[in-house]
């Protein structure tokens, strides 16, 4: 059963988290993500969860990692400047394999930039922003419905792969209001518990260790230092460091196909739009307005790890056109995977592409 609501994207994000069983939110106010925190502040205590407003985004990220080790489904929400502050502890979460969900309702940057305007300028930061090699998962909603669904899914992916999962929304999606079908319940995939006979950081065949929740007698030592399977520091052991970091990357990259999430429209087209997040909407309008043109469209929801195999499904593609609210961050990723030209339709300024602009891009060289 579902019910119909008329919600803002940020509200749907918070409700998706609640539906997924999120029971800890640590955050700091920042435009244009604040409504997520406000909604959680109002709803979480009534559901027996914890909302805490921390002193900054560094502390917010730290608090959700601490909460996650007690078994909580933990989350924070922010935007560009706060996202930058979270980077160090995001790396800590990657290194310690701590499940957590970070929502970034992207605004114009760099620096304070455009607090109330939309952008997608943090797509590479979410993939590579903390120091060292690691891998993460990033989901990009393009509607209020997807703000709900992808946020709920993010908790499952975080638990399953023991990794920070990002909801890389943007201001247009965060603040748009539209109809949403809210399900009575959502599927929950919980983290695999540590087995008594196995060391806390010994990975199974899926490269993921069982989770030794605090307070359950496993005596787990969690450190951001390079650590062995016992969790003990081993920072000057080169093969061990190499194997650990390789596993942290491989456990995500090897599961690329399993977590891929995209739609393919008109796979026989010669010109193909690729979009994620807000720009999906004007592309949809162009396809709607020009059914006679057989325009291809790859609509991506899981942006990291990047679903490269989807590109190969457009067998006749002569050109990929990539509208993004940045200067071509994902367009460059697409260039790595295809042999035909990739046209970046990067747009700065804080506004979505118009359907007219995109239709014109189809005609331009």
């Amino acid at each position: 059963m579902t019910r119909v609501e008329f919600w803002q994207g940020n509200t749907a994000c918070a409700e998706g988290a609640l539906a997924a069983g999120c029971n800890f939110f640590g955050g700091y106010p920042i435009t244009p993500s604040t409504e997520v925190a406000e909604h959680m502040a109002a709803k979480l205590p009534k559901k027996g969860g914890v909302f805490i407003q921390m002193e900054d985004e560094i502390a917010s990220m730290a608090s959700i990692i601490g909460a996650s080790w007690t078994g909580a489904r933990a989350m924070t929400a922010t935007s560009g400047p706060g996202f930058s502050l979270m980077m160090e502890n995001i790396g800590f979460a990657a290194m310690t394999e701590t499940p957590c969900v970070v929502v970034n309702v992207q605004r114009g940057g760099p620096s304070t930039g455009q607090p109330t305007m939309a952008a997608q300028g943090d797509m590479m930061q979410c993939r590579f922003g903390s120091h060292g090699d690691y891998a993460v998962i990033a989901l990009c909603p393009a509607s209020v419905q997807e703000m709900f669904e992808l946020t709920a899914r993010a908790f499952n992916l975080a638990d399953q792969y023991r990794v920070p999962v990002f909801i890389m929304a943007d201001e247009t999606v965060g603040h748009m209001r539209e109809k949403i079908l809210v399900p009575d319940s959502v599927e929950r995939v919980l983290r695999k518990p540590q087995r008594a006979d196995v060391l806390p950081f010994h990975a199974d065949e899926d490269l993921i260790p069982g989770f030794g929740q605090f307070g359950t007698g496993h005596n787990v030592h969690v450190t951001g230092l390079t650590h062995d399977e016992r969790g003990y520091p081993a920072a000057t052991n080169p093969p061990l460091h190499a194997a650990l970091v390789q596993r942290l990357v491989d456990k995500i990259e090897n599961a690329r196909d399993a977590m891929a999430d995209y739609d393919i429209i008109n796979p026989d087209a010669e010109q193909v739009f690729v979009a994620y997040g807000g720009p999906v909407r004007p592309v949809q309008q162009v396809l709607h307005d020009h059914p006679e043109k057989n325009i291809g469209f790859l609509r991506i929801r899981t942006v990291w790890p990047f679903p490269e195999k989807a590109l190969a499904k457009f067998k006749n593609a002569q050109r990929f056109l990539v509208p993004e609210m940045n200067l071509g961050q994902i367009a460059r990723e697409i260039e790595r995977h295809v042999r035909v030209p990739v046209k970046s339709l990067g747009k700065l300024g804080g506004e979505l592409h118009t359907p007219k602009e995109l239709a014109a891009a189809l005609e331009a060289t």
């Binding site: 002193e55 601490g66 007690t70 005596n219 969690v222």
Partner: protein
């Protein structure tokens, strides 16, 4: 008294230098924890980065060795998410008062139910002896080669002003007093802050004319001014010599606290 069962025997030998004061503070803390009768599975040690922050890695409980300066917000997440857990934080002067200063005052303000033990060696030991926010004026470090020109923090006054329920200061000389202070801190709901001045022969002592470890411990003993004596001197209108620091139970109150087990 031995607290062997609280230690990870398979992690020895430890990283601390010969003559380091941190082991004394860890021992006093575990003695107090042991007296509380807490079970290992309901006790969590949290730390940031630095020599003192390596302590949780030697203790046989769940433990969280985090990023530099951030032990308190991590500990806040643990405690708020599960108030049934007893959460003890080990930190140092650089970790707590420099990079983690903002988290320190806000954890005090929230009066969250944590016990924080700060091993104050007045220097950055792990990185080789740079000046810290508690390096005394005039003292030498690798980044204050002409003597520290800045005024050091009084961490206990800071904790009191920011709202902590329990604040005390002792040194690595005062083991009995320190053990008792930690125990009172563990018993007190809300934020408990125990500062323990420690000798650091490798990074601090050798630059500041403490030729022997015992010379530095003796310095800490001689320059400690008991709070009761300080109060008497103030009442009598006597000046407090600037090179002394006050030790004892400095604050004990029962303001409303956050994260207390119901």
């Amino acid at each position: 008294m031995s607290y062997d069962e609280w230690f990870r025997q398979d992690r020895l030998p430890h990283i601390y230098c010969a003559g380091c004061g941190n082991g004394t503070i860890i021992n006093c803390t575990l003695a107090a924890v042991d007296q509380m009768g807490w079970k290992k599975e309901e006790t969590v040690f949290v730390s940031g980065i630095g020599c003192s922050s390596r302590a949780p890695g030697y203790i046989l409980t769940d433990s969280l060795h985090t990023t530099h300066g951030r032990a308190l917000p991590f500990a806040t997440g643990v405690k708020m998410a599960n108030p049934d857990l007893h959460v003890v934080v080990f930190t140092g002067d650089g970790d707590l008062a420099a990079i983690g200063g903002n988290h320190f005052i806000h954890a005090c303000r929230r009066n969250i139910d944590l016990t924080v033990i700060c091993m104050n060696n007045q220097i950055y030991g792990m990185t080789g002896g740079q000046g810290s926010p508690t390096t005394p004026k005039g003292c030498l470090s690798s980044t204050t080669p002409f003597g520290c020109a800045e005024t050091p923090f009084d961490l206990c006054e800071l904790a009191t002003a920011a709202g902590a329920n329990y604040v005390s200061r002792w040194t690595s000389y005062h083991v009995k007093e320190l053990e008792k202070a930690v125990k009172v801190g563990l018993e007190t709901p809300g934020f408990s802050f125990i500062e323990a001045l420690v000798q650091c022969p490798t990074a601090f002592g050798r630059r500041n004319k403490f030729r022997q470890v015992a010379d530095h411990v003796d310095y800490l003993k001689v320059h400690s001014l008991l709070k009761a004596k300080r109060d008497r001197m103030l009442d009598a209108g006597e000046a407090i010599p600037e090179d002394l620091f006050v030790v004892g139970e400095l604050t004990k109150r029962s303001r409303p606290a956050l994260g207390v087990k119901l």
